[in-house]
């Protein structure tokens, strides 16, 4: 199957406008004849489900949570970007577009990014109209702050809880549609199979997590908004339930998986403390606006941070990147921290962190200002680390946070399988090899509120008059049998190891061999280790309980089983990409100064993988990337 990105013709700035005009429409009276299944109710899923229902489509929204207000979008702290230029500091749609393409290390599709920048301004308008309580100036106007990778202040925020407020806005819009009867909402329901017929998505098979019942849903289109796969590393800042299952099972039905090796390691997380650690906690990147990052110059310095004089501190980001300083993009800040720790200058009991110091900001601005800006983040930190950041610098270290890769989609956000749309973090399209801060919320809402509602009409219009495939068709029955059989198999192994134990082992292999730094040898090691862990899982995992009631171990086992297959694809992708770019750092490919060395000649493409079987090598398809507006250049933040 050839990859066609369906990028519209015409000048960059006109593509989206022209495309909207040229796309077929479904008339208002006919929209109710189409059924759309939306899987996932985070920012992308909830905004898409609400908007499609407002337009008149029949929507079924599925969430494995108990309510659509829980998805991990809710944990995003810092903010959402938009090219509003309210501060009058030189921002524009073109600049946001430029920053995002450059920040993504020239591995994103220009046309998608431009559209993202265009609709960013509508998102802010939409959210304010819904009542999202963004921070305000005293005159009642919206406040902005700056974020990594940008030299303008374009980030809108609601204290340190921006993701929460945006998700609640989308959730409330969705709740309104539920009450109007336009959305059928299925909570505690997990999608476990995508059903296709003739390379067209026709429905999904789900499991009711309370009763264990397996059932099919049929629709004219299926929308996956199921988030990222960071938990393949076991320890990440993702929520515990975040997983790759929906995307992976769609991949096994033929949907291509693009750029899985692009994983973002967030520079400011609380360092791990012990083996029992169940997850890592992120401290918003916005802290880098006022916090200064440093390590002691002398690796043996065991003094308390407050006793280390200025002369003995190395503010390494300010030293190495004077123009951007502490606000360099995430990948650069992360690798710089790794370098300090690897060279023995790490701080804290396990010497696995660097300091993020607010001392200077508190002296300059006063404690109340810092409290107003970051109070809730400081509280989170104190709760976990048992240290007061007003007095002692925070200790931070990078952790897996976001995944730029995802299912391949065209300009319309449709995968290579017709009728399958993929939104938000679950797709690959807008962030290239590295996502800038405050851009995930922007992309999730752009896809759900302003892109899919236009593009899905063009797919549905020609289907007018066709009914969704009946759920007693053999393709549905076969998929239901597969889901039931998978549960039965997991429950019957009755081995000796818990699901978490094996997941932790996988995570360790992934982090050590395919984490912040990757080499040919480490990837080969991971590729040798993962199948063995998978074998161990399928012969020696212990899943207790039954299939007929709430069984969280069984749910978890199904998700870890998918990570055990997916991890291999991630490493395969990392191995074939013999260059360093953004979140993918191959140690063999770096400049003399230790910066990522891209190879635009050979690797300016999207790697889209086709599934051929669990123990069979996947097929690589390439979508070449063209950079017409933003010229390929080495990123420099000096």
């Amino acid at each position: 199957m050839a990859l066609n990105s369906h990028i519209p013709e015409g000048p960059m700035a006109d593509k989206w406008t022209n495309h909207k005009f040229e796309s077929a429409l479904v008339n208002p009276a006919n929209k109710r004849k189409f059924k759309v299944i939306v899987v996932g109710t985070g920012l992308a899923g909830a905004s898409a489900a609400a908007t499609l229902a407002e337009l008149g489509y029949q929507v079924t929204a599925i969430s494995f949570h108990d309510t659509p207000r829980r998805a991990h979008s809710i944990a995003a702290q810092g903010g959402i970007n938009a090219a509003k230029n309210y501060p009058n500091d030189g921002d524009s749609v073109h600049r946001l577009f430029y920053d995002t393409v450059k920040g993504g290390d020239f591995r994103a599709r220009e046309a998608n990014v431009h559209r993202l920048a265009e609709v960013s301004v509508n998102i802010i308008d939409q959210c304010v109209a819904q009542g999202v309580p963004f921070a305000r100036e005293y005159g009642g106007q919206l406040d902005n702050r700056s974020f990594g990778g940008a030299q303008v202040s374009r980030t809108f925020y609601a204290r340190g809880q921006t993701g929460q407020q945006l998700l609640l806005g989308a959730y409330q819009a969705l709740a309104r549609q539920v009450s109007l009867g336009n959305v059928e909402l299925l909570t505690r329901t997990e999608m476990l199979e995508l059903v296709t017929k003739d390379d067209r998505a026709v429905g999904v098979v789900c499991r009711d997590l309370i009763t264990g019942a397996v059932f099919s849903l049929s629709g004219h289109a299926v929308v996956l908004a199921t988030g990222g796969y960071g938990n393949v590393y076991y320890l990440s800042t993702n929520a515990k339930l975040s997983n790759v299952t929906a995307a992976w099972r769609a991949h096994k039905q033929g949907a291509y998986f693009a750029n899985p090796c692009y994983t973002q390691i967030h520079p400011t997380c609380i360092p791990a403390s012990d083996d029992f650690q169940s997850k890592l906690t992120l401290m918003s990147e916005s802290l880098r606006n006022d916090g200064r990052i440093w390590v002691p110059k002398d690796s043996g310095d065991s003094r308390s941070p407050r006793d280390i004089p200025e002369a003995d501190r190395d503010y390494y980001l300010e030293r190495r990147y004077p123009a951007f300083g502490n606000l360099v993009p995430r990948d650069i800040a992360s690798r710089a921290a790794k370098r300090e720790v690897d060279e023995g200058r790490g701080v804290g009991p396990l010497k696995n962190g660097v300091y993020l110091d607010f001392g200077a900001a508190i002296s300059r601005l006063g404690k109340p200002v810092i409290e107003e800006r970051y109070g809730n983040l400081f509280e989170i930190y104190e709760r976990i680390a048992d240290d007061n950041p007003y007095d002692t610098p925070m200790r931070i270290y990078p952790a897996v946070h976001y995944t730029m890769g995802g299912l391949w989609v065209d300009y319309n956000l449709m995968s290579n399988l017709e009728g399958l749309y993929v939104l938000g973090e679950a797709n690959f399209s807008d962030h290239g090899a590295n996502r800038l801060g405050a851009s995930a919320l922007m992309q999730g809402l752009a896809d759900g509120y302003f892109v899919l509602p236009y593009t899905i009409g063009a797919y549905l219009a020609p289907l007018l008059g066709t009914a969704p495939l009946a759920t007693d068709e053999p393709v549905f029955k076969a998929a239901e049998t597969k889901v039931a059989e998978n549960s039965r198999r997991l429950l019957s192994i009755k081995g000796d190891r818990t699901v978490d134990d094996i997941h932790r082992e996988l995570g360790k292999v992934m982090w050590e061999n395919c984490g912040m730094g990757r080499t040919e040898a480490s990837l080969s090691k991971a590729l040798a280790d993962i199948p063995a862990i998978r074998e161990e899982f399928w012969t020696n995992v212990r899943v207790l309980g039954d299939n007929e009631s709430l069984n969280q171990s069984l749910e978890k086992a199904g998700r870890v089983a998918d990570f055990l297959e997916f991890g291999e694809l991630l490493c395969n992708d990392a191995q074939q990409r013999k260059e360093s770019c953004g979140g993918h750092f191959r140690e063999e490919y770096q400049t003399d100064e230790g910066e990522a060395l891209r190879d635009d000649e050979n690797f300016a493409y999207v790697a889209a993988w086709e599934f051929n079987g669990v123990d069979t090598a996947p097929t690589l398809h390439k979508e070449d990337l063209e950079f017409k507006e933003v010229h390929l250049a080495t990123r420099s933040y000096k």
């Binding site: 949570h65 009542g131 305000r136 409330q172 539920v178």
Partner: protein
């Protein structure tokens, strides 16, 4: 990094399904690090249970950062446990003494049926939001964001209310199982903002009346505020009461029109 390990005795509510009888069961958890979160302590217990071929304790959780609102249980009779303003996932074992005896139970309220062990069904809270906890603003219809100035104090107070995580601790803490704090937080968030004025009175009536279908009545015990992981103030309940009375006066519905 080797703070001395603690021993904890856990008495946990075990119930296999919504209609099954439940009972308390005792467990000993050794090797508890003071740096563990409460849920990590339960993870550790669950790993031991699986090793001993006993089904792990079911409990809801997800973000483990105190923001998603999934987790929540009664810890020694207090929703989310002893630390004020803290969700269960952000409670750390260093807040307990060595050899502490901790009783964990599900949130209990008539509207919260038990799914299994510590997991409860809180969907009645969604019904309240569906009744009017939104501002009608279909996608695409919004004016420029800065055309709606919102005084900073108003925005800040709306945000104080809006940070509710929907965990249900307020209901569990209330002797009447009332959901006034939850409902009032959503009402205050939307009713304070200029964008929320058009639907203010209908929203108030619809949400309050839906709330009363599922939950008990507020008699000002203020246990909800003490239990709230976001420390949302009961002042918002006063605002709810004021708006509810006003909404009756401003009732714009036609006489004889019937609403569910």
């Amino acid at each position: 990094m080797s703070a001395p390990k603690m021993h904890i005795k856990v008495t946990a509510w075990r119930q296999s399904g919504p209609d099954a009888p439940g009972a308390f069961k005792d467990y000993d958890v050794n090797d508890v690090s003071p740096d563990m979160s409460f849920l990590e302590m339960l993870d550790t217990l669950n790993e031991r249970l699986i090793e001993n071929n006993e089904e792990p304790i079911a409990f809801d959780h997800d973000c483990r950062e105190g923001i998603c609102g999934s987790c929540g249980m009664m810890i020694n009779g207090v929703p989310h446990g002893p630390e004020r303003g803290t969700a269960t996932c952000q409670l750390h074992m260093r807040k307990f003494n060595d050899n502490a005896h901790i009783t964990v139970e599900p949130f209990r309220a008539a509207a919260f049926t038990i799914n299994k062990d510590l997991s409860v069904d809180r969907s009645a809270l969604d019904r309240i939001v569906e009744a009017g906890g939104y501002i009608t603003a279909p996608t695409g219809s919004a004016p420029d964001a800065n055309l709606i100035p919102v005084p900073k104090a108003v925005s800040d107070t709306a945000m104080d209310a809006a940070q509710c995580i929907g965990c249900g601790a307020c209901v569990a803490a209330c002797p009447n199982s009332a959901a006034q704090l939850f409902t009032s937080a959503k009402l205050a968030h939307l009713n304070l903002l200029p964008q929320g004025q058009a639907e203010r009175w209908d929203r108030t009536i619809d949400m309050v009346e839906t709330m009363e279908m599922y939950f008990g009545s507020c008699t000002n015990f203020r246990e909800c505020e003490a239990a709230c992981p976001k420390e949302i103030s009961v002042d918002f309940i006063a605002m709810l009461n004021k708006d509810y009375v006003k909404s009756q006066l401003k009732q714009r519905r036609l006489a004889g029109q019937v609403f569910p």
